[in-house]
């Protein structure tokens, strides 16, 4: 006979499932349906065109450029966020005066709204009067072309993203570090391990479950990240920072091509699903028994 506790679990489970179906499944199906139709706006009568939108999108060189931009943006920013996040977490895991205050400050960028970070970054990197621009110029490094060249623009959006979201990795890794039993370090030291060996053979393996989740989440979020890039560059210059979410948005909301935008979004969703599936096969979240 089911206990009262079971009823609570099932109620929560079905409620969650219903909400997911409504707010996630519904829009996904709607996007899929739209991608099979041609419409110039969301109020226009859609005309069924089958897979024509997909055919049109995949032969567009801008689609593949956007895909490459998205991969570069996601991989570079995740790599930097993870490396820096681990480094900051290792420092914050040490005991030092005002440790709590520093930990609090370290999470600050993550608490700021993206628009604030984007505006601050623009202010710091303004080509003429930006604080960092002027500082670097005064130090003799010349004027940094933050957004003036395709590669520097790509790196600038990565930099802004790393600034904003590294604290998330730091917090997660810091929590992971505090679960590592000190006995493991003591045993390794007895075997003659130095700081580097301790990190490679004790810390990193122990952090693997945390890092698996962090990389997965950050990967999904960065691949779909729209706001920071849109606020900073709108995909420019010369399409250098235009990735699939921006391309989908522009097609659907600016270029009067709702079906094309939905096709880009659907393809992006499919590709991300495949990558996530492969990732979970390679790095399963549960240890095999």
């Amino acid at each position: 006979m089911p206990s009262r506790y079971d009823w609570v679990i099932w109620t929560v489970f079905w409620s969650g499932l219903a909400l997911t179906a409504l707010f996630v499944g519904g829009p996904v199906l709607d996007a899929l349906w739209l991608s099979l139709h041609q419409a110039s706006s969301f109020i226009a009568e859609p005309r069924f065109v089958g897979l024509a939108n997909y055919g049109r999108v995949v032969v567009d060189p801008e689609f593949w450029r956007a895909m490459g931009n998205g991969l570069f943006y996601a991989l570079t920013s995740i790599g930097l966020q993870v490396v820096l996040g681990i480094a900051f977490a290792l420092v914050l895991n040490q005991t030092f005066p005002a440790q709590r205050l520093v930990r609090g400050l370290a999470t600050l960028p993550y608490l700021l709204p993206t628009v604030v970070v984007a505006l601050t970054f623009q202010w710091l990197s303004d080509g003429s009067v930006g604080l960092v621009t002027v500082l670097m110029r005064d130090l003799g490094f010349g004027t940094i072309p933050w957004f003036e060249q395709p590669w520097t623009a790509r790196m600038s959006v990565v930099l802004a993203s790393v600034w904003l979201w590294t604290p998330f990795v730091t917090i997660c890794v810091l929590a992971g570090l505090q679960t590592i039993p000190p006995a493991l370090y003591e045993a390794a030291r007895v075997d003659g391990a130095g700081p580097v060996a301790l990190f490679w053979h004790v810390t990193l393996p122990q952090l693997k479950p945390v890092l698996t989740v962090v990389v997965l989440l950050r990967g999904i979020w960065m691949f779909n990240k729209f706001d920071i890039i849109w606020l900073l560059t709108k995909g420019g210059p010369l399409g250098a920072t235009e990735h699939l979410p921006i391309m989908a948005y522009k097609r659907a909301f600016s270029l009067f091509d709702v079906g094309g935008g939905a096709a880009v979004a659907t393809l992006s969703f499919l590709m991300l699903s495949i990558v996530v599936t492969i990732y979970l096969r390679l790095f399963p979240l549960e240890e095999k028994r």
């Binding site: 303004d126 080509g127 060249q149 560059t233 420019g236 010369l238």
Partner: protein, 440 residues
């Protein structure tokens, strides 16, 4: 029977009140739909503009017993909000729109009420009405023409004349560059990023030189040999002018350009009347030292200003008739009050307004009468071309809108100044991108 009391309330009365509130909540949309209310989506978020509309709304409610609710969004979000409201089942009775393709889309989908009779009651300036299938759907409230500002004091001290050609403008940009009070002053500030500002501020040199995008049969005239040559010459000129600009122009938007001019960082800048208002507010020492001119061409034969416009549409709603009555009522004194909320930026599209003593009586319009005369002259002078990417072609259409939104011309400029491609290659790439945008 004993009743458990809670602070003077019985459980029964609480339950009854709760049920009543729930029923009222369910019934409220039905009640709301019967209330005589006009919903007005305003796209001018400046506090004075909102206030002008609210005053009008309060006055209308007092006179006609019709409530007018004003919702305000940035003008760039007005179309999205309008469409969302239609999709959500509560369309706006009146909406602000700032892009001709959006009016076309809504009109073609049967979401707008024609206001041809109301529009035809007035005489309008050139190229400001955009009829769709012979009907007017848009009641315009301003021109946002874009022209060039220059520092008159610098011109006087260097004995420079307002330029008539690209070469003269380039020379003046070079001669007005320098240092002032320890800060570097640049000759020109013009955006080149992927944004509306670039489409609005950086392309009128092409219109002045006779470049067009479409003919009356929607043939891509930009691809013609003659226009390719003209566009390449424009890029050669722009590439040289770019050297007189401050760094960071890929990120420049409307605010950056006004800041560059009003702070003294740039000696020339493109903008509309808003820049004079900004000078009055933030840099009064420059407010009587500006000069205005249209964009020159290459040979000194013609000049241009970039087109800009804003207006209101009436939705196809149960309150549409009342909305038209409201606009009719609004189009006299309150229309002028609204124009006064940005007196030099909201350039009147209705020609009768220029003669209206009430409009002319605004202190800033009186003070800058010379500028107002120049602005009016842009409409009257047959040698001044008024064009923009989004209004190209014989009638409102999605094709120019797609070219506008694809950043075809901002990227053409970027190819020239950031990638140093030859001007011919930049034009060829623009033609290809244009064709892709039209076909897409």
């Amino acid at each position: 029977m004993t009743t458990r009391k809670t602070g003077g309330l019985s459980r029964r009365s609480l339950l009854t009140a709760g049920a009543g509130a729930a029923a009222a909540t369910i019934y409220m949309p039905a009640v709301h739909s019967q209330v005589h209310e006009l919903r007005f989506l305003n796209g001018e978020p400046a506090v004075d503009s909102v206030r002008a509309l609210r005053v009008a709304a309060a006055q209308y409610e007092k006179e006609r017993r019709i409530k007018v609710t004003i919702d305000t969004v940035p003008s760039g979000d007005a179309y999205t909000r309008t469409v969302s409201a239609i999709k959500g089942g509560r369309p706006y009775d009146i909406s602000t729109l700032i892009f001709v393709a959006h009016v076309l889309t809504l009109a073609n989908e049967g979401q707008l009420t024609p206001i041809t009779e109301l529009v035809n009651r007035h005489k309008w300036g050139k190229r400001i009405l955009f009829p769709v299938n012979g009907q007017h759907y848009w009641y315009m409230y301003d021109y946002n023409l874009c022209w060039l500002f220059y520092r008159k004091d610098l011109y006087d001290s260097a004995k420079l004349e307002p330029p008539k050609t690209w070469a003269q403008l380039l020379e003046n940009c070079r001669k007005t560059s320098g240092t002032e009070g320890g800060s570097q002053r640049f000759g020109m500030a013009t955006p080149i990023g992927n944004n509306d500002a670039t489409n609005w501020m950086s392309l009128a040199y092409m219109w002045a030189d006779g470049i067009s995008l479409f003919d009356d049969k929607w043939t891509n005239t930009f691809a013609s040999e003659e226009n390719r040559k003209r566009a390449a010459a424009y890029l050669d000129f722009f590439g040289e002018m770019y050297k007189t600009m401050p760094p960071g122009m890929t990120q420049a938007g409307f605010g950056t350009i006004t800041a560059a001019y009003s702070s003294g960082q740039a000696a020339h800048a493109p903008y509309a009347g808003r820049l004079i208002e900004i000078l009055e507010q933030r840099a009064p020492q420059l407010a009587d030292k500006y000069g205005m001119m249209p964009y020159p061409d290459s040979a000194g034969k013609q000049a241009a200003v970039n087109h800009g416009y804003d207006g209101w549409v009436v939705g196809k709603t149960p309150m549409a008739e009342e909305a038209v009555r409201f606009l009719e009522w609004f189009s006299d004194a309150h229309y002028i009050n609204f124009l006064h909320s940005a007196p030099l930026h909201f350039q009147p599209p209705r020609l009768d307004i220029y003669e209206d003593a009430r409009w002319r009586a605004h202190p800033l319009i009186e003070k800058h009468a010379g500028a107002v005369k120049t602005m009016q002259g842009f409409l009257d002078d047959p040698n001044i071309v008024i064009r923009s990417v989004d209004t190209e072609g014989p009638a409102p259409d999605l094709r120019p809108a797609k070219i506008f939104e694809s950043w075809v011309f901002p990227e053409m400029l970027q190819n020239k100044v950031l990638k140093n491609l030859s001007s011919q290659d930049c034009v060829s790439q623009a033609v290809e991108k244009m064709n892709r945008a039209i076909a897409g």
